[in-house]
């Protein structure tokens, strides 16, 4: 949502939003533009901070349908404007065209915000969990998002290659100790460190490992940091 902080709304759209809210509260049966779009955004808002709720393709398509409808209605009205010689009702038609235009823009904006926010969350997944999407998350993404993730992954890797292979995702906290004591929370099996040493990570055992090895395992929840 950060990218959409910026331009101030103009008067008309402010009035529109307030009306929207009012109608939602008072007369939920009245059909207003932008309801589905608000649903989209609310869905994301409710989701916990680092999670991605399933892709709401249906609502997205519904919003697009609405935009189409608005666009066609506007087309019709523009046609009417041009055909009609009588300028008395021009003002009204112009107002309704303007109103519909704002509604359309708002819908578009909600759509962009929805997708952008999801992309941001995906990005933080890449930084926290590495280049492979876990299966549970994979099922909540749309195809395009998966493509985007893969290409982001490639770009990031290429960038890090330029840096002599410095892996930016590893050193995320200031290092205090070279070795840390960890307790194993899940049965992980054999784990091979960068030095080539294989350690058997069984549940409830405790080990001493270099910090760089453990960081991503701690983030995944396999290990837990303990103090001596």
């Amino acid at each position: 949502m950060r990218a959409l902080i910026g331009p101030k709304e103009n008067q008309a759209s402010q009035v529109y939003y307030r009306t929207l809210w009012w109608t939602d509260v008072q007369r939920p049966s009245l059909k207003m533009y932008g309801r589905r779009a608000t649903d989209l955004i609310r869905g994301l808002d409710r989701a916990a901070e680092n999670s991605i709720p399933p892709y709401n393709g249906e609502t997205v398509r519904a919003v697009c349908e609405e935009i189409k409808d608005i666009f066609e209605a506007n087309q019709q009205d523009t046609g009417r404007l041009q055909s009609q010689a009588d300028t008395s009702s021009h003002q009204n038609i112009l107002h309704s065209i303007h109103f519909r235009h704002i509604a359309m823009e708002r819908n578009k904006r909600c759509l962009v915000a929805y997708h952008y926010n999801r992309a941001e969350r995906l990005r933080s997944i890449r930084w926290n969990l590495g280049g492979i999407i876990p299966r549970e998350i994979r099922s909540t993404l749309s195809e395009k998002e998966v493509e985007w993730f893969n290409s982001y992954n490639t770009e990031l890797t290429n960038y890090m290659m330029e840096l002599d292979g410095l892996n930016l995702t590893v050193h995320q906290r200031p290092p205090k100790e070279h070795f840390i004591h960890v307790r194993v929370l899940l049965d992980y099996g054999d784990y091979e460190t960068e030095d080539g040493e294989t350690i058997h990570l069984k549940k409830y055992t405790r080990h001493v490992l270099p910090r760089t090895e453990c960081e991503h395992l701690i983030r995944q929840g396999v290990l837990e940091h303990v103090h001596v």
């Binding site: 307790r183 058997h200 409830y204 303990v226």
Partner: protein
């Protein structure tokens, strides 16, 4: 190989591990830790030492030897050093764990006797304790050096000894008469000697393995090592004392032994606490002195404490109302107002708290309670307010390890390690609360044991069967390891109440059917804990019940399993329970049973 004194420990154990880890970056020590308080304290000290020198380790918790085998299996090929704390002394570690040939085993166990294979395996197995050389059988008497030679060869050598190599054929036919007879005689002689040697070996081994006893807390040994390499501090000392007190409280060492060891530690007490800043609120100190031998009296009311300490509970019979009255009388004699008795210790009047020990001393003589005041207990104090008896802390940690039957033993050990981690008395208070809960459970079970007449006593044998289903509300909850202190409590109360000479010599067996864990409802094990006679526990502390169990099981041919590292704790299937008990009774009623 036996590493006797601390100097040996530091050279052949610690320095060895240190050099190994320096020369080989991938060297990792596998630590196998048992689930008792002494082991937890010893591990804490050892991990502290390893941390100072950046020695890499992997720690696994084992409740019995099968767990040890499972823990070694995945790293069999790569492991080079295995340290076993309070496990493995009684098993043939080299033969059963089967790690690769270069692996070295270090066994730090307070149990005796040590398995003979461990003692005689040369450099591969190093036992870190003092072993009385006179008690170990000689190598030749238990291990045979000879190899059997096939008969033909022997005949040929005989003939070559006799001289002619060329005419063996003719000579052998000539010698067929006399030398063959000689051969046969020699062979028979050798076989007879071998059979005699076997019999002898069996006798020696059974005598050697007869009695299980404990000596030297592992945590103390680790502390001595730390002291020698100058890495000790008051935290390590605190942990070591907890280990020692645990051995005393669980009756693994006698009180005289405990007193002897405590006095020997006075030097450390003075050295490590003299420079503590007295004005610091949270300063941690350890002191040694006279104190009441009542469990948790500083956290509980006097009354509760006296009902829960086995000593006073058995003398006053606190499970009966008469006992309560007697207790009240004693307290009244001492000058405690009734209202004060019902308050927790911290809420009592300052005067009473100050003079309590004195008053108890006077009354102790009158009421014939010699053991009420212990001549020396360790106290840990945090600042001015918080004082804990380290015996209580040991009991609390034991409860932490055994009270909950829902969490696994490994989780409990990790929790105990966390409790010891910081000088934070809040965590210690939590452990003490668990200890009190456990003692309350024991108290209730003792009460119901007397009310429901669960004690089945014969002249030669005493048993209590705890059935989780039928007892009215005083169920046993916790892990099987908690059965041992419960058994001690039950035995003490019975013996002191019965007041017979014979009763105190009679062995005691506690039989318990525990609630099966939720993830394993078919689990129908019955647990047995065997204790020797009460006198035995007070003086020499040797436990022969393991052998008795094995003999009984052998007679009726049922399978028993040792569920912890101690021989006298076994379990078997429910269906075998009655047969096994009958066999046990039979063994003990035989006049000349080898067990006693």
């Amino acid at each position: 190989m036996i590493l006797d004194n601390p100097k040996d420990l530091s050279q052949n154990f610690y320095s060895y591990l240190l050099n190994k880890s320096r020369s080989n970056r991938e060297h990792r020590v596998l630590i196998l830790c048992a689930t008792d308080v002494d082991a937890v304290c010893a591990v804490k000290i050892l991990l502290h030492l390893f941390n100072c020198d950046y020695i890499l380790y992997s720690l696994t918790i084992c409740s019995n030897f099968t767990d040890c085998i499972k823990a070694v299996k995945p790293v069999r090929e790569t492991v080079r050093s295995i340290v076993m704390i309070n496990c493995g002394a009684a098993e043939d570690v080299y033969g059963r764990l089967k790690a690769n040939k270069d692996a070295r085993y270090f066994i730090l166990d307070s149990r005796l006797p040590v398995h003979l294979h461990n003692l005689y395996s040369g450099k591969a197995v190093r036992v870190l304790r003092k072993v009385d050389a006179s008690e170990i059988p000689a190598f030749d008497s238990v291990f045979s050096q000879e190899e059997d030679e096939p008969p033909k060869k022997r005949a040929r050598t005989d003939s070559s000894v006799n001289g002619d190599d060329d005419d063996t054929m003719s000579q052998s036919s000539e010698m067929s008469g006399s030398s063959q007879v000689e051969n046969i005689r020699e062979r028979r002689e050798k076989e007879r000697k071998k059979a005699e040697w076997e019999v002898n070996r069996k006798i020696i081994e059974s005598n050697y393995y007869k009695n299980v006893s404990y000596e030297d807390s592992s945590a103390m040994k680790m502390f001595e090592l730390a002291h020698l390499i100058s890495k000790d501090d008051h935290n390590l000392f605190f942990w070591a004392i907890i280990g020692l007190c645990d051995m005393f409280v669980q009756r693994k060492i006698s009180s005289s032994e405990f007193v002897k060891k405590s006095i020997a530690l006075q030097g450390h007490v003075i050295r490590l606490t003299h420079n503590v800043d007295v004005e610091n609120r949270q300063a941690f100190r350890i002191t040694y002195g006279q104190d009441l031998a009542l469990r948790f009296y500083r956290q509980w009311t006097i009354f509760d404490s006296m009902c829960s300490t086995p000593y006073t509970a058995s003398i006053f019979r606190t499970w009966e109302t008469k006992g309560h009255q007697k207790l009240h009388e004693l307290l009244a004699d001492m000058g405690f107002p009734l209202s004060q008795c019902k308050q927790t210790f911290s809420a009592m009047d300052y005067e009473i708290k100050e003079n309590m020990v004195e008053w108890f001393k006077e009354q102790a003589a009158q009421w014939n309670l010699p053991d009420l005041i212990s001549s020396g207990t360790f106290l840990a104090s945090y600042g001015f307010n918080q004082k804990f008896q380290i015996n209580d802390i040991a009991l609390g940690l034991h409860a932490c390890l055994t009270l909950s039957d829902t969490s696994s033993p490994e989780e409990n050990v990790h929790e105990a390690l966390e409790i010891l981690s910081k000088e934070d008395f809040k965590r210690i208070e939590y452990a003490l609360r668990l200890g009190r809960d456990q003692l309350s459970i024991f108290r209730n079970i003792v009460q119901s044991a007397f009310e429901e007449r669960l004690f089945v006593g014969m002249n030669t044998y005493l048993q209590v069967c705890l059935d989780n289903i039928s007892s009215t509300g005083n169920k046993f909850t916790g892990r099987p390891e908690a059965l041992i202190p419960l058994a001690l409590f039950l035995q003490q109360t019975y013996v002191v109440r019965a007041r017979g000479n014979k009763v105190s010599k009679v062995p005691f067996v506690l039989v318990a059917e525990l609630q099966p864990p939720s993830d394993d409802p078919d689990n129908d094990w019955v647990y047995f804990v065997g204790l020797p006679g009460h006198d035995n526990i007070n003086s020499g502390v040797t436990n022969f019940m393991g052998r008795a169990f094995r003999e009984a099981a052998g007679r009726v041919k049922i399978d028993i399993e040792q569920w912890s590292f101690d021989e006298y704790t076994i379990r078997t299937r429910k269906k075998n329970k009655i047969t096994f008990l009958d066999a046990l009774i039979l063994i003990f009623s035989l006049p000349s049973s080898g067990a006693v």
